[in-house]
C-alpha cells in the first residue's frame, strides 16, 4: 500500500510540476516589416521626419532606419507640396515648405519591398501664455507654478504642460554642470495621466501632463504644478515651463505612449495600445506647437 501511495504521489507531483513549453511560429503576415514614421512638426518650422522599419517582437538588435525612402509632403487633400531630403540616420527634412498654423499636411513614404504609408495632421496655433506666477516653499524645497493661458472655446483643444528645474554644480574642472529634475506634481482634476492618486488628495506625479479643454469651462485656463529643486545648488537655478498645443493625433499618441511607458513590464496592468495615425505603418506624424519660458531664480 505504501508503495502504491508513493508511486501515485510521485506521478502526480511530476506531472503537475512538469510544465511544458514549446515554440509557436509566428505567421509571416503577422510580422511583415512596416515603415515607421516619427515626426512632430510645428508651424513655421522645418519639418523633420524619422523613418525606420518595424520588426517582429522576437528580433534582437537595433531596429533599422530607412535612408533611401521616397518621402513627400502633401496638403490635406493629398496634393504633393515637396520632396523630403535625407540628412542622416533615417532623418529627413523638408527644404521648401514651412507649415502654416491651422493647415493640414500629410506625408507619403515608400520604399521598395515595404508597403507605402501615409499620415495626416495639422499644425496647431502657438499658445500665448498669459502669465506664470511662482510661490516658493523653501522649507520643502519646492516651487509652485501657476500657469495661465487662453483657450479657444470654439473647438476642442489638446494641451501638454511640463516643468523642469535645473540646478548647477561646479565639477572638478570648475565647469558648471546642470542637473535636471523634470518630474513634478499637480492636483488639477482634468489631467489624464500621472498615475494613481499618490497622496490620497488628488495629487498626480509625472514629467508631462496632458489634458483637453472638454472638462474646462470658459476661455481661461489656470494650471498649478509643484516641482522639487535641489536646495544646495551652488549656482543660480532656473526652471523651464513648456506649454504645448497638440493636434488630436499627437495628443492621443503622447497619452497612450506615456501610459505604455508607465505600465511596461507590469503583469497586473492591462495592455496599452499606443496610438498611431500612420496608415499601413506605425508611429506618429503630428502637429504640436510649444511655448517655452525660462525662469531664473537667484
Amino acid at each position: 500500500m505504501k508503495n502504491i501511495q508513493f508511486i501515485g504521489i510521485s506521478l502526480a507531483l511530476l506531472s503537475v510540476l512538469w510544465a511544458c513549453e514549446k515554440e509557436i511560429v509566428l505567421k509571416q503576415e503577422e510580422v511583415e516589416p512596416r515603415i515607421v514614421v516619427n515626426s512632430i512638426f510645428s508651424a513655421n518650422d522645418t519639418i523633420w521626419v524619422q523613418l525606420s522599419e518595424s520588426r517582429n517582437v522576437l528580433f534582437e538588435g537595433e531596429l533599422p532606419v530607412i535612408t533611401d525612402a521616397a518621402l513627400q509632403l502633401t496638403d490635406g487633400n493629398g496634393s504633393v507640396l515637396g520632396e523630403f531630403i535625407h540628412e542622416s540616420d533615417g532623418n529627413y527634412y523638408m527644404p521648401t515648405v514651412l507649415p502654416a498654423a491651422g493647415n493640414r499636411y500629410g506625408i507619403i513614404a515608400s520604399k521598395a519591398g515595404l508597403k507605402s504609408v501615409s499620415a495626416f495632421s495639422a499644425a496647431p496655433n502657438l499658445i500665448s501664455v498669459t502669465s506664470i506666477d511662482t510661490v516658493s516653499f523653501a522649507d520643502v524645497s519646492e516651487m509652485e507654478f501657476t500657469i495661465k493661458f487662453s483657450d479657444d472655446v470654439t473647438e476642442t483643444n489638446y494641451y501638454s504642460i511640463s516643468i523642469a528645474s535645473y540646478n548647477g554644480y561646479p565639477n572638478e574642472l570648475g565647469e558648471v554642470v546642470y542637473y535636471e529634475n523634470n518630474y513634478f506634481t499637480t492636483k488639477e482634476f482634468y489631467v489624464v495621466n500621472g498615475g494613481d492618486d499618490i497622496g490620497g488628495d488628488g495629487t498626480k506625479y509625472d514629467s508631462e501632463f496632458y489634458f483637453t479643454d472638454e472638462l474646462l469651462v470658459g476661455a481661461d485656463i489656470s494650471f498649478k504644478g509643484r516641482i522639487y529643486y535641489f536646495s544646495d545648488s551652488e549656482e543660480p537655478r532656473f526652471f523651464v515651463v513648456k506649454v504645448a498645443s497638440l493636434s488630436e493625433d499627437l495628443y492621443k499618441y503622447k497619452v497612450t505612449y506615456a501610459n505604455y511607458l508607465n505600465t511596461q513590464g507590469s503583469p497586473f496592468a492591462e495592455p496599452v495600445r499606443v496610438y498611431s495615425n500612420v496608415e499601413n505603418g506605425f508611429g506618429i506624424f503630428g502637429g504640436g506647437s510649444i511655448s517655452r519660458d525660462t525662469l531664473f531664480v537667484e
Binding site: R34, N38, N56, Y253
Partner: protein, 789 residues
C-alpha cells in the same frame, strides 16, 4: 398588502379549475433515504395529464373526481402505479424504491423536454458527474457542466464558466438558495462543490424563469443532500490530492436527519518532506523556509419534519483556501557577536461561508411556500510581513513590518416563495426577497515598528452598503394541447449611496408541441445585475473585486432571445438545438494601463463602461438509456465587447470568444463491476492580446527613442486550439458493509500540449528568443478509492 395579493392570485387562478375536481398532493421521497425526489413525475395516462415535484419534492395535481390509475416515477427508481379514488382533496406521500438489477436504466420518471416550457436548462445527473474522468480524480460538477453546449471553460483546468459569452460574475451560483461569490478552490482548478454533498444541479443558460434575478448570464442552482431519514449512510474517498467523507442519517427516525461532508487537500502535507529536505541543505546558511497550500470545505444540513405541513432545513457551507510561505534567516553579527533573526512571511487566503434556514409550509393541497433566511460571506486577504530581532531579545523587534490587503462581500437576505397549482399543467409561482449587501472592496492595513518609527494604519476603500429588493410573478400554463407558456415578470431595485435603481424584467418562454416527441421553443428574458466584478486575471485568482453599481457605474443589463427545437429519438436518443442572441450593456473593464494595485481606491476612475453581445447555435445529441450513455455537444458562437476608450473604441473579441466548442462524453457500463467514462473536448483557442511587432518611438523626454511593442487589436491573437481526451475506469466491489470503488483515470490521454499562456522569452537550454507556449497539464494519471455504506 401581501395577504391581499395572495388572495387575489388564488381567487383569479382558482376560478379556472372550478368544477368537480379534487387535488392530489404530497411529497415524493426516496424509500431508502427519505430524501425528496426533485423533479419526480406524477402522471395519469388516461387523462394525459401530469405534474412534476418541485425542488422540495412537493407535487400537486388537480383532476376530475373519480378513480384514476396514477403513475409515480423518477429516474433510477421503480415506477409505482396506484389506483386512487378521488372525491375530495387527498394528501398522498409517495416513496419510490430503487431500480432492481436491470440491465438498462429506465428514464420514464424524467419530465420530457417537449412537455415543458423550460429551455436553455440542464439538469445535471450526479451519477454522470461521478462516473466521468476528471483532473486528478476530483469530481466536479462545474467541470461536468463545462461539457455542455453554451457553457465554456476558461483556461486549462479552470472551473470558471462562461455561459453564452457572459463573464464569470454573471453566473448566479446558488447553494441551497444562497449565492456563492467565489466558487473556486486551488486558484480556480477546482470548484468549491463537493460532489458527495450535492443532490441536484440545475443550470439555466437563458429563458430565465421570473423567479431568478440578479445576474445576466446564467443560474446554477445547486441543492445539497438532505440526509437519510431511515438509517446512517456514509460516503468517502481518498484521492491524490484530497480526501473526503460524507455522513448522513437520522437524528430522529423519519423526523430529523443530518448530512455533513468534509474535504481537505494534502498538498501541504505532501510538500513537507521536500521542504524539509531543502531546509536541511540550506541549514548551514541559516535559511529555513516553510510553506504550503491547502483547501478544505465542509457542507452540513439538518432537515426536520415538524408535521405533514411544515418542514425546516438548516444548511451551511464553510470553505477556505490558504497559501503561505514563511522563511527564517539566522545570522551572526560579527560587530556585536550577537545572533540575529529575520522572519518573513507572505500569504493568500480566501473563502466562503454561507448559511440558510428554510421553512417549507403546505397551506393546502394546491399551495406550498418556502421561506428562507440566508447569510453569505466571501472574504479575501493577502499580505506579507517582516520581523527582525536579536535572538536573545525576541520581544524587542529591530524591524517589524506587515501589510495586509483585505476585501470581501457579505450578504444577509431573506425571501418568500409561493407555489400554487390551480390545475394540471398550471403552476403559479411568486415571491419577494431582500438582500442587504456589505461590500468591502479593499482595505490595506499597514503596520511598521522598530527603528524609531511606528505606523499602524488602515487605508483604502470604505465599506459600501446596499439593499437589493425583488419580487416576481410567473405563470406556467397550458394554452392549448400544443401550446404552453411561462410568462412572468421580475421586478428588482437596488439602493446604494442614496441612489435608487429600478428594473422591470419581463420573461417569456413558449413551448409549441409539434407532436408527442418534438417541440419548438422560444424565450425572451431581460435581466439586470447590480454587482460588478473587477478582474484582472484569467485563472480565477481571487484578487477579483466585487463592487456595487454606483451613481456613475450603472447596472449591467442583459437581453436574450432564444429559439430551440427538441426531439425524442428512438433507442433513448434525444436531440436538442438552440440558437440565441444576447446583448449585454454596462459591462465594466479596466482601462488600458490600469492595474489591480490601487484599484481599491477610487476604482470607478479606473474602469470603462461598455457593451457586449453574443450569438450562437448549440446542438446536443444525447443517448440517455442503455449500457452506453452520453452526449455530443457542439456550439458555434461569437462574442464581442466594445468600450469607448479601449481598442480605439472598436469592437474586439471577448477573451473566451470561442468559434467552435465540441464535447464528446461517453459512459459505458460493462457489468456491475466495471464502467468506463470517456471525455473528449475541442475548443477554438482563446483570444489574447499580444504584441507581434515592435518599432521605434518618437522618444521620451529627450532620452531618445525606445521601442514600442505594437498591439494590433485587443484580444486579436488566437492561441492554438484546445483539445484533450480523458479516460476513466471505475471498478466497483460490493462488500459486507457497502460498496467500494477504485477509480483510475488519465487526464489528457494523448498528452496534447494545450496552451495555458503565451509569452515572449527563451526556451529552456536555448538562447533563441521565441513566442513560447506554456502548457500546464500533460498526460496526468490519477487513482482514487471511494466507498459508501
Amino acid at each position: 398588502m401581501m395577504k391581499n395579493f395572495l388572495l387575489l392570485v388564488l381567487i383569479c387562478t382558482g376560478l379556472i379549475g372550478w368544477s368537480q375536481k379534487s387535488t392530489l398532493s404530497g411529497y415524493m421521497k426516496d424509500s431508502q433515504t427519505g430524501e425528496a425526489l426533485i423533479g419526480a413525475r406524477v402522471y395519469i395516462d388516461s387523462l394525459k395529464i401530469g405534474a412534476v415535484a418541485n425542488i422540495y419534492g412537493f407535487y400537486s395535481l388537480t383532476v376530475p373526481n373519480g378513480t384514476h390509475t396514477i403513475l409515480f416515477s423518477y429516474v433510477g427508481k421503480e415506477p409505482l402505479k396506484k389506483l386512487v379514488r378521488l372525491d375530495e382533496n387527498l394528501t398522498l406521500d409517495i416513496v419510490l424504491d430503487p431500480l432492481g438489477e436491470l440491465d438498462e436504466i429506465v428514464i420514464t420518471g424524467e419530465k420530457k423536454e417537449q412537455e415543458t416550457t423550460e429551455m436553455s436548462t440542464v439538469n445535471l445527473s450526479m451519477d454522470k458527474v461521478k462516473s466521468l474522468p476528471v483532473l486528478l480524480g476530483e469530481r466536479d460538477i462545474i467541470k461536468t457542466a463545462q461539457l455542455l453546449p453554451g457553457i465554456q471553460s476558461g483556461s486549462e483546468g479552470s472551473s470558471g464558466i462562461y455561459v453564452r459569452g457572459g463573464g464569470p460574475d454573471q453566473n448566479l451560483i446558488l447553494l441551497d438558495g444562497v449565492p456563492i461569490y467565489n466558487a473556486n478552490h486551488l486558484f480556480g482548478f477546482f470548484s468549491v462543490f463537493n460532489a458527495d454533498a450535492i443532490n441536484q444541479v440545475k443550470l439555466v443558460k437563458g429563458g430565465f424563469p421570473a423567479e431568478y434575478g440578479g445576474r445576466i448570464s446564467s443560474v446554477i442552482d445547486i441543492r445539497m443532500n438532505e440526509g437519510d431519514m431511515k438509517k446512517i449512510h456514509g460516503e468517502g474517498s481518498i484521492g491524490i490530492i484530497s480526501s473526503k467523507l460524507m455522513l448522513n442519517g437520522p437524528i430522529i427516525k423519519d423526523k430529523t436527519s443530518f448530512m455533513i461532508s468534509a474535504r481537505r487537500t494534502y498538498i501541504d502535507v505532501l510538500a513537507r518532506p521536500f521542504i524539509a529536505l531543502a531546509n536541511q541543505n540550506n541549514s548551514t546558511q541559516g535559511d529555513e523556509v516553510t510553506g504550503g497550500y491547502f483547501f478544505y470545505d465542509v457542507n452540513a444540513k439538518l432537515n426536520h419534519v415538524i408535521n405533514t405541513n411544515n418542514r425546516i432545513y438548516f444548511s451551511a457551507y464553510l470553505g477556505d483556501d490558504k497559501f503561505y510561505v514563511d522563511s527564517k534567516y539566522t545570522y551572526l553579527n560579527s560587530s556585536d557577536n550577537l545572533r540575529y533573526v529575520e522572519e518573513s512571511n507572505a500569504g493568500l487566503k480566501w473563502g466562503n461561508k454561507i448559511m440558510a434556514l428554510r421553512w417549507n409550509h403546505k397551506y393546502g393541497p394546491k399551495l406550498f411556500s418556502n421561506t428562507t433566511l440566508n447569510y453569505s460571506d466571501y472574504r479575501f486577504a493577502t499580505g506579507f510581513g517582516l520581523n527582525a530581532y536579536a535572538e536573545s531579545t525576541p520581544n524587542l523587534p529591530i524591524d517589524n513590518f506587515s501589510f495586509e490587503y483585505l476585501s470581501g462581500i457579505t450578504d444577509w437576505g431573506g425571501n418568500m416563495n409561493f407555489y400554487y397549482y390551480p390545475a394540471p399543467k398550471h403552476e403559479i409561482q411568486f415571491g419577494v426577497g431582500e438582500i442587504y449587501h456589505t461590500f468591502k472592496p479593499g482595505v490595506n492595513q499597514l503596520s511598521v515598528s522598530g527603528g524609531g518609527a511606528t505606523i499602524d494604519t488602515s487605508f483604502g476603500s470604505v465599506r459600501t452598503y446596499a439593499h437589493e429588493f425583488y419580487g416576481y410573478f410567473q405563470d406556467d400554463f397550458e394554452v392549448s394541447k400544443r401550446l404552453m407558456v411561462n410568462a412572468g415578470v421580475h421586478l428588482s431595485n437596488f439602493y446604494v449611496r442614496e441612489k435608487l435603481y429600478n428594473s422591470l424584467q419581463p420573461r417569456l418562454a413558449i413551448n409549441f408541441k409539434l407532436d408527442e416527441k418534438s417541440s419548438l421553443k422560444a424565450s425572451y428574458a431581460k435581466t439586470t445585475q447590480f454587482l460588478h466584478l473587477l478582474t484582472n486575471t484569467s485563472i480565477g485568482l481571487p484578487t477579483d473585486l466585487w463592487l456595487p453599481v454606483t451613481d456613475s457605474i450603472p447596472p449591467q443589463q442583459g437581453n436574450q432571445v432564444a429559439i430551440g427545437y427538441t426531439r425524442e429519438l428512438k433507442k433513448g436518443y434525444r436531440i436538442g438545438s438552440e440558437a440565441y442572441y444576447k446583448t449585454m450593456a454596462n459591462l465594466i473593464e479596466y482601462k488600458e494601463g490600469a492595474s489591480f494595485f490601487g484599484s481599491n481606491q477610487n476604482w470607478e476612475s479606473l474602469v470603462e463602461v461598455g457593451r457586449g453581445y453574443s450569438y450562437g447555435l448549440e446542438v446536443l445529441l444525447e443517448k440517455r438509456t442503455g449500457k452506453t450513455t452520453g452526449w455530443i455537444g457542439y456550439t458555434l458562437s461569437w462574442t464581442n465587447r466594445q468600450f469607448a476608450n479601449i481598442n480605439d473604441g472598436e469592437e474586439f473579441p471577448y477573451r473566451y470568444d470561442r468559434r467552435h466548442d465540441i464535447s464528446f462524453v461517453l459512459t459505458h457500463k460493462f457489468n456491475e463491476k466495471f464502467d468506463i467514462g470517456i471525455v473528449w473536448v475541442y475548443g477554438t483557442g482563446n483570444a489574447i492580446t499580444l504584441a507581434l511587432q515592435k518599432y521605434n518611438s518618437l522618444g521620451d523626454g529627450g532620452f531618445g527613442p525606445s521601442e514600442v511593442n505594437h498591439i494590433d487589436q485587443r484580444n486579436g491573437y488566437r492561441m492554438p486550439s484546445y483539445h484533450r481526451l480523458d479516460v476513466g475506469l471505475n471498478y466497483h466491489k460490493k462488500t459486507k458493509w457497502g460498496e467500494s470503488t477504485w477509480s483510475f483515470g488519465v487526464y489528457n490521454a494523448y498528452n496534447r500540449q494545450n496552451p495555458f499562456f503565451l509569452d515572449i522569452g527563451y526556451l529552456q537550454n536555448s538562447d533563441k528568443k521565441v513566442l513560447k507556449q506554456v502548457s500546464l497539464f500533460p498526460f496526468l494519471p490519477s487513482v482514487s478509492y471511494s466507498f459508501k455504506f
